[in-house]
């Protein structure tokens, strides 16, 4: 690959006079972008410091920064030591202006920016360029740009300077208009160009106001609520208008004993046992664990290892053959006078009824209820920011009272002052309904948030709704917040009001390749295949099936696996055919990372097994939302490397702990 250096150090002859009369320098260097990405510092800073030292200058400190032009991330890295009088910046003009804007001290450029690369769109480094003239001529010229390919940017044909197909400016440069005529002739369009009226460029099209307004709107969108995030196509319309239907009980269910964060449950039934709907079949295997219940009535046919839908490994599961009667177990009865119960008693019910976070992570809800720190707010996540999924939306519409009831339970149990339901603005009907239903409840409010993925992530949700930042390594409870999903509180409501454990949930079966998308109340343990079949099957052989949304869902290859407590969707989408190419350091991953990390480093660090480096780059703050992977212009599977880094960091910490 060519060296796409963006700037170069000014020459010694320029730097020496520049330093005259200036001392106590702080040196800032950018690690450059749009280049073959190597995990090493750029050499310019050393060269500059050498020259400065020769001139007897004192250097108060120095820093290398990635994407110096990114003001948000740069401002955290610029701490000028006391005694600094001048700042020297080795960067392109953007970085220098950013530092100058952030610093109260004189800032000097030690480098010149150079236009030595092509492409320049934040993506591929290519040989074709675009000048952004605002009046694309490519339709007249067979797809060859007269503005950039012609050295005079002529738009009405060739000048007299072409000789042997070459431009008068350089013998190495093809004449653009020769190329244009050749291309058009090859397409049988030679006559077209003769009929084109005289072209006059309109230089007023690219004006300050137009561009300034766009930049403002894009930046507003980018910083809306929290830094970064993305706006993938939603395709919610495929399923959002289909009310929840009860999915027919399957003949057989496979209920994994591990559907939650923490230790697996222990089976308390054996093959041959008869069970009823809602009967406990697995006991929690520890403090961070959960109970498991039968979703049907019938006979246990096996307790054996089965393929887990999301982890891809074999886990102990209870296989039950339904008798089709759906007889309720005696333990399923409403809780009387729940308001008179103690925090511990409510938490025990929530624990006993197997309720875990239903947004995907499966963290036992009872653990959250008994927070060791004071809680002031319960935030309900009704964002459903993943594209395609609509089950939470339907739950809010069809079980609004249960959601509000469940929220009240959480508020009381955690001792919070208030509860807030955060809903993205693409769900107007749910906002309207819940606003109406909570209007008379003084301590429950609705927050309408502009759509942006990953809004539903705990830390993003807290930042957006409350303006509070959860520090690196801390939990929501450290800032006095408990976050829960709307489906989860609906389950809490069922546990209290009906005594029903978590045995069924709302699932969206959707995607461009599902024949009849819809939303269903599905019993835990139902095979994915039967859900797909019920929805008319797939419309193409070449599809990817994921459990969950397209961003954070798990791709599955065996459709016989069961859906579990955390399965909010079964989606059939276009397979990803991308092939990873080299990182070009375009910086877009850093631009969208809501945790303000630098994802581009993780593949390099994983490759080098540099777990200390990965820890320094805060890999453990990553929540694997996938924004970086989504935006990556080189299509690098970043999350794979991130998982490796996290594993490496943990293993190294354990080793050092011994």
């Amino acid at each position: 690959m060519e060296d796409y250096t963006k700037f170069r150090l000014k020459s010694r002859d320029e730097i020496v006079p520049l330093l005259e009369g200036k001392d106590n320098l702080f040196v800032v260097a950018c690690n450059k972008c749009f280049k073959e990405f190597e995990n090493a510092d750029e050499p310019e800073r050393g060269e500059f410091e050498k020259i400065a030292a020769e001139q007897g200058k004192k250097i108060t400190g120095c820093v290398n920064v990635d994407f110096l032009c990114n003001k948000t991330t740069t401002q955290n890295k610029l701490e000028l030591p006391t005694g600094t009088e001048n700042v020297a910046v080795i960067s392109c003009g953007l970085g220098i202006q950013t530092v100058a804007d952030l610093s109260d001290m004189p800032v000097y450029a030690a480098a010149d920016s150079v236009k030595s690369y092509d492409g320049h769109h934040g993506m591929a480094l290519t040989t074709v360029r675009c000048d952004g003239c605002g009046q694309c001529y490519l339709n007249l010229t067979g797809g060859i740009c007269p503005i950039v390919d012609c050295s005079k940017s002529l738009v009405n044909g060739q000048c007299g300077g072409s000789k042997n197909f070459k431009c008068e400016v350089s013998k190495d440069k093809d004449c653009a208009w020769d190329k244009i005529h050749e291309r058009l002739a090859a397409q049988g369009r030679a006559a077209e160009i003769l009929n084109v009226p005289v072209q006059l460029r309109d230089h007023s099209k690219v004006n300050f106001k137009f561009i300034d307004d766009y930049v403002k709107s894009i930046r507003e969108k980018r910083f809306e609520g929290y830094y970064g995030g993305i706006h993938p196509s939603e395709y919610k319309e495929l399923a959002e208008f289909f009310p929840l239907k009860t999915f027919p009980a399957p003949d057989n269910v496979v209920i994994p004993l591990s559907q939650h964060a923490g230790a697996p449950a222990q089976a308390i039934v054996a093959a041959g046992d008869t069970v009823k709907t809602g009967q406990k079949i697995g006991e929690a295997g520890g403090f961070i664990s959960s109970t498991i219940h039968s979703s049907v009535s019938g006979t246990v046919t096996a307790v054996e290892e089965r393929l887990h839908p999301t982890t891809g490994v074999q886990v102990m599961s209870v296989v039950i053959k339904s008798d089709g009667k759906d007889e309720l177990h005696e333990s399923v009865k409403p809780v009387q006078n729940w308001e008179s119960l103690s925090v511990d008693e409510i938490a025990d019910i929530v624990r006993e009824k197997g309720i875990v976070g239903m947004g995907g992570a499966g963290f036992p809800t009872a653990v959250k209820l008994k927070s060791p720190k004071p809680i002031d707010t319960v935030l309900l996540n009704g964002c459903e920011c993943e594209p395609l999924l609509t089950c939470d939306h339907r739950v809010m519409l069809e079980f609004a009272d249960d959601v509000i009831f469940g929220l009240k339970v959480l508020i009381k149990t955690t001792g919070a002052e208030k509860g807030m339901i955060v809903i993205e603005d693409n769900k107007h009907d749910a906002i309207e309904l819940l606003e109406k239903k909570t209007a008379d409840i003084p301590n429950i409010g609705i927050v309408v948030a502009k759509t942006k993925y990953p809004q539903g992530a705990e830390k993003m949700l807290i930042k957006r709704a409350l303006g509070k930042s959860v520090p690196s390594g801390a939990l929501p409870l450290d800032v006095g917040v408990v976050v829960s999903n709307v489906s989860t509180v609906k389950a809490v409501s069922d546990a209290i009001q009906k005594g029903m454990p978590l045995i069924e949930r709302a699932v969206t079966v959707t995607g461009p390749y599902i024949k009849n998308p819809g939303n269903y109340m599905v019993k835990v343990g139902t095979p994915v295949q039967s859900l797909i079949d019920h929805c008319g099957g797939l419309t193409s052989d070449d599809v990817t099936i994921k459990l969950g949304g397209p961003m954070m869902g798990f791709e599955i290859e065996n459709f016989d696996v069961p859906m579990i407590k955390g399965t909010n969707g079964i989606i059939a989408i276009e397979p990803d055919v991308s092939e990873a190419s080299d990182c070009i350091k375009c910086g877009r991953c850093a631009d969208v990372c809501p945790m303000e990390l630098l994802p581009l480093y993780y593949p390099k660090l994983a490759m080098a097994q540099d777990w200390t480096g990965a820890n320094d780059k805060s890999v453990r703050d990553c929540m694997e939302c996938g924004c970086c992977e989504f935006i990556c212009s080189s299509k690098i599977p970043l999350r794979y490397s991130i998982k490796q880094c996290k594993k490496g960091v943990i293993e190294q910490a354990q080793k050092e702990g011994k």
Binding site: K6, K10, F67, N70, G93, L94, I96, Q97, A100, D101, S103, P106, V107, A111, D112, S113, V114, K115, G119, H120, G122, M123, A124, C130, D131, G132, C133, C136, L138, N139, G142, G143, I144, C145, A186, Q187, R189, N207, F208, K209, F210, I211, D212, Y214, V215, R222, I230, V577, S578, S581, C586, G587, R588, A590, D591, V592, I631, S633, S634, K635
Partner: protein, 202 residues
């Protein structure tokens, strides 16, 4: 990174003739791409196919992404590309014997170095002026790119070109004044070297 804006419907209808396939690039959607308008327009054009993909500016990626649509593409008379100028040229280069048309106009965007649209712009002039100007770029902050101070078009600190645009040289003066560096403005006439930009790109 650039801003793309749809061409007028009439202009697009003029070129989208015969069997037309649309190629829509959503790679830069987070920067600016008229996604909704493009979807609407494609519906109205009713082409023989619409391939939604991303980063068509990357020739290798383009080939991979289009592989499964090649039958349709080969059978088409016209390929209509919804992307910035780089994308259109890459597609055009890939289908040299086909009519490849642009459905968008492309505008430059401040920043352009890879990260998000920025408040600042750099034209890569090759002779950085920021040292004499308190770190405010006269090439991009002044609508005339003047390098020898303010012109007569400044009123109430605003530029004659747009009442909302701050005068770049007014900002430079204020910054230098704040830094106690007004002497920096006492330099002999500066002359830009436009040849630098061409030399470098050779």
């Amino acid at each position: 990174m650039l801003i793309t804006v749809l061409k007028s419907k009439e202009d697009i209808e003029c070129v989208a003739k015969g069997k037309t396939i649309c190629v829509t690039c959503e790679g830069c959607k987070e920067v600016h791409f008229p996604e909704v308008e493009a979807i609407e327009l494609v519906k109205e054009l009713n082409p023989t196919g619409n391939v939604i993909t991303e980063y068509v500016c990357n020739p290798d990626n383009l080939k991979v992404q289009l592989a499964k649509h090649m039958d349709k593409l080969n059978a088409a008379d016209t390929v209509l590309v919804f992307s910035c100028g780089v994308g259109v040229q890459t597609v055009s280069d890939n289908f040299r014997d086909k009519k490849v048309y642009a459905a968008c106009d492309t505008y430059p965007l401040p920043g352009g170095q890879g990260v998000t649209p920025l408040e600042f712009d750099c034209e890569q002039c090759g002779e950085c002026y920021l040292n004499g100007t308190g770190g405010i770029c006269p090439i991009t902050a002044c609508s005339k790119s003047l390098v020898n101070g303010q012109c007569g078009g400044c009123k109430d600190g605003k530029c004659e070109v747009d009442k909302e645009m701050d005068c770049g040289w007014e900002r430079i003066y204020k910054r230098l004044e704040k830094l106690g560096l007004l002497d920096e403005m006492r330099y002999p006439a500066k002359l830009r070297n436009f040849n630098l930009m061409y030399e470098e790109s050779k």
